[in-house]
């Protein structure tokens, strides 16, 4: 039991799933074990800020606290083609360039308002470059999906029932 408890202590929870930490000796690398991706700790921090911009902490936790950026990395690592992974990583570095070009600062140094502007500009750009577009599509889709399917949301905000035990085909609702 103690051993199991110890293992639990070193797992990283990301939106409800337990992720294995990377080898901690190798400094400067992402904090979770990845098979296909090579992600630095700096990139991981940048992802955390982008995720937090998408789903910020309010009176309830935001993306960073739920480790949704690590969830995105895990999904990217296991569910996407090499080509998409490459585009994502390039798009991530392009975000930094966009921040420098637009505001003369790194993304992390931007005010929340500016971060939001920057992401919205990508979202609304019909001619967004492929890497930035793919990055944003995966990052936003997986952050939002991971959030809605997170343990926190599914057990506190929009409760998912394991055992409903009922069916009502005429459930009254307010007609919109």
């Amino acid at each position: 039991m103690e051993r199991r408890f110890a293992i639990k202590q070193i797992l990283i929870m990301a939106g409800g799933i337990a992720l294995l930490p990377s080898c901690l000796k190798e400094s400067g690398k992402s904090s979770i074990a990845l098979t296909n991706l090579d992600v630095s700790l700096d990139q991981e921090h940048l992802l955390a800020e982008i995720a937090e911009t998408i789903i910020p902490a309010t009176d309830t936790p935001g993306a960073k606290q739920l480790n949704l950026h690590l969830f995105v990395l895990k999904m990217l690592d296991d569910l996407y083609e090499k080509e998409d992974q490459k585009l994502f990583m390039k798009g991530l570095s392009d975000i930094g360039d966009v921040a420098q070009d637009k505001y003369g600062k790194s993304f992390q140094k931007l005010a929340v308002q500016q971060r939001q502007e920057l992401l919205l500009a990508i979202e609304n750009d019909k001619q967004v470059p492929p890497a930035l577009g793919k990055f944003y599509e995966i990052m936003k889709g997986r952050t939002v999906g991971g959030y809605l399917n997170s343990k926190y949301v599914m057990t506190n905000l929009i409760k998912w029932e394991l055992v409903p035990g009922r069916y009502n085909g005429y459930f009254p609702v307010k007609a919109a």
């Binding site: 997170s150 057990t155 085909g169």
Partner: protein, 571 residues
């Protein structure tokens, strides 16, 4: 040495051998053990014990490593399995992986298999509609296949028998084309399903939308409690295995029931290579088995052998059971074994939206899945340019429509408080296909699997009749949707390969004449009467109902007959 052989022969001898532990094998096991016969059930896969071996059954969505999606590497390794809706992280451990059990596709065929105790009964869609004489008389009336050697009256009492034990929820709808059964309370249709039902009834007197009949315990009887099962809790996570035994599976129902008699021996990891035919005795004496793990070859013996390996594998075993008397496979005097394979055409769906009934939504989950539209084409007479017809599913639901635009607090607020969208309605086609000699399975000339069993060639395809029928389904259902006021009607022609319907049937069909069929009216091999086939391989035609309930009834009926025959020393 001969003593040892005699000893081993004795310990390996049973009254009955059942090959396969899926939906029909489980029923055979129950029937024979209840009648006091020592029964050996051989299962090629691993054991799956009720509840104990359902590792994902109580997991929340966020507990799956990729929220349910199989990792890309797994999808790429398993292109066939990945096309099946069951193949997700919660149930993929119950689905055969492509590379473990290869076969040869002479034409594209997605063969979905469940190699474990319980087989696909753990995974099935649980829809249980009876056949009627419009189905059994189909081949004779419409001039295809051969005449079924049985009629509805032969099977009706066995349908009742199977339904009472399995537990079938449904309503007495009073339809000649879909006879009523022994039902537990049916699940209700929802507001829009009921609306469509009423609309169709008014406009088309011969078309009916009913609540789908399904193998769920809506209100269990004592017989179900005696099996250790409880009321269905509307989880709809059935493919993971149900800790309540809320739906019927071999694992929850027939196998533990058989085990309780003390007459059951269940041997997992037992790949049946062939049925042993003794040329001198003129009958089958047992089966040859290869242990799946050790590859050790062994033999088991019995007076009666039931082959319930699932339709296509039953064909494989029989084709591979060669003897001097049967050089082309057991019972295959006419060369028809493996031929006339058919399936159900599930390749079209229609979806739409409905703007009305906004004062209602649904709450909880419906195990029946919604409505069922029995076949209405060519029922009383031939009326179209294609043979036979289709049943259709029909269901309606409302879901939240999330505004996913933007980022930040607004986005968060929007996705946490989504408004209800309009009702979405959907239908899928379940078409009868016509068995043909050119749709067949056969043994590969040289390639064998890891257990020394020849690989199967599968050569099964759609035909012109299927195309015409699909066109009609799309036209009729679209029109009914349109007339009912559904908007934004979309047709999805998936052009999925045969097999993905998981309703493959035939190859060892029943018939009156040994020249044109493999099995007689009791599911006995014409030329080898102590071997019975009661899984999908026996089907003379497919009609369009989900077939499992019919396999259950046929199995119980054949087992009853087998025991009576044995007691009369006929077999």
């Amino acid at each position: 040495m001969s003593n040892i052989n005699t000893e081993s022969k004795k310990t390996n001898t049973y009254d009955v051998i059942v090959i396969g532990s899926g939906i029909s094998g489980g029923w055979a096991a129950k029937e024979f053990t209840e009648k006091g016969l020592k029964t050996l059930v051989l299962e090629r896969g691993r054991d799956v014990q009720h509840i104990k071996d359902y590792p994902t059954t109580n997991k929340y969505p966020f507990e799956f490593e990729h929220r349910g999606e199989p990792a890309l590497a797994i999808q790429k390794e398993n292109p066939i399995a990945s096309r099946c809706y069951i193949f997700r992280e919660d149930a993929m451990h119950f689905v055969v992986k492509d590379h473990e059990h290869p076969y040869v596709q002479e034409k594209p065929f997605d063969w979905i298999r469940g190699y474990q105790v319980g087989g696909k009964s753990l995974l099935w869609a649980r829809q249980t509609q009876r056949w009627s004489d419009f189905d059994f008389e189909g081949p004779a009336r419409d001039g295809f296949a051969v005449d079924w050697p049985i009629r509805y009256k032969d099977l009706a009492p066995w349908y009742s028998y199977a339904e009472k034990f399995a537990g079938i929820a449904g309503n007495k709808d009073g339809l000649k084309e879909l006879p009523d059964g022994e039902f537990l309370p049916g699940y209700p249709l929802n507001a829009v399903e009921d609306y469509f039902k009423g609309f169709v009834k008014n406009k088309y007197p011969n078309r009916h939308v009913i609540s789908a009949r399904c193998a769920h315990l809506s209100k269990p009887n004592q017989i179900h409690f005696d099996q250790g099962r409880a009321k269905c809790q509307n989880r709809i996570l059935c493919q993971r295995g149900c800790p309540f035994g809320g739906y019927f599976s071999s694992n929850a129902s027939t196998l533990p029931w058989a085990a309780k008699t003390g007459n059951l021996t269940l041997r997992p990891f037992s790949v049946v290579e062939s049925v042993i035919y003794d040329d001198k005795l003129g009958k089958a004496t047992g089966v040859r088995v290869v242990d799946a793990n050790t590859k050790e070859e062994m033999e088991f013996y019995a007076k009666i052998i039931f082959v319930n390996a699932a339709a296509i594998n039953t064909n494989l075993i029989l084709l591979n059971s060669k003897s001097t008397r049967f050089p082309n496979g057991l019972g295959n005097d006419n060369g028809q074994l493996g031929k006339f394979v058919a399936f159900h055409n599930y390749s079209a769906r229609i979806s739409a939206e409905y703007d009305g009934m906004k004062q209602f939504s649904t709450d909880g989950r419906n195990p029946a899945g919604g409505g069922y539209i029995p076949r209405f084409r060519n029922v009383y007479k031939q009326e179209t340019n294609f043979k036979r017809g289709y049943a259709a599913g029909f269901s309606a639901h409302r879901s939240n429509e999330r505004d996913m635009t933007g980022v930040g607090e607004n986005l968060k607020k929007n996705i946490l408080n989504p408004p209800l969208g309009p009702w979405h309605v959907g239908s899928h086609m379940m078409g009868e296909t016509i068995p043909k000699e050119s749709n067949f399975v056969s043994l590969h000339q040289s390639k064998k699997d890891n257990w020394g069993v020849p690989l199967l060639n599968i050569s099964v395809d759609y035909d012109e009749n299927d195309a015409l029928m699909k066109k009609d389904y799309v036209a009729e259902m679209s029109q009914m949707f349109d007339e009912a006021g559904f908007k934004n009607i979309k047709v999805n022609d998936s052009s999925q390969a045969p097999g993905l319907d998981i309703h493959e049937m035939g190859g060892a069909r029943m018939g009156l004449d040994p020249k044109t069929s493999i099995l007689n009216k009791w599911n006995q091999i014409h030329a080898c009467p102590n071997v019975f086939v009661t899984d999908g391989a026996c089907m003379t035609s497919t009609s369009c109902q989900n077939p499992s309930l019919t396999y259950m009834a046929l199995t119980a009926r054949a087992a009853d007959y087998a025991v009576k025959s044995m007691n009369r020393f006929e077999i």
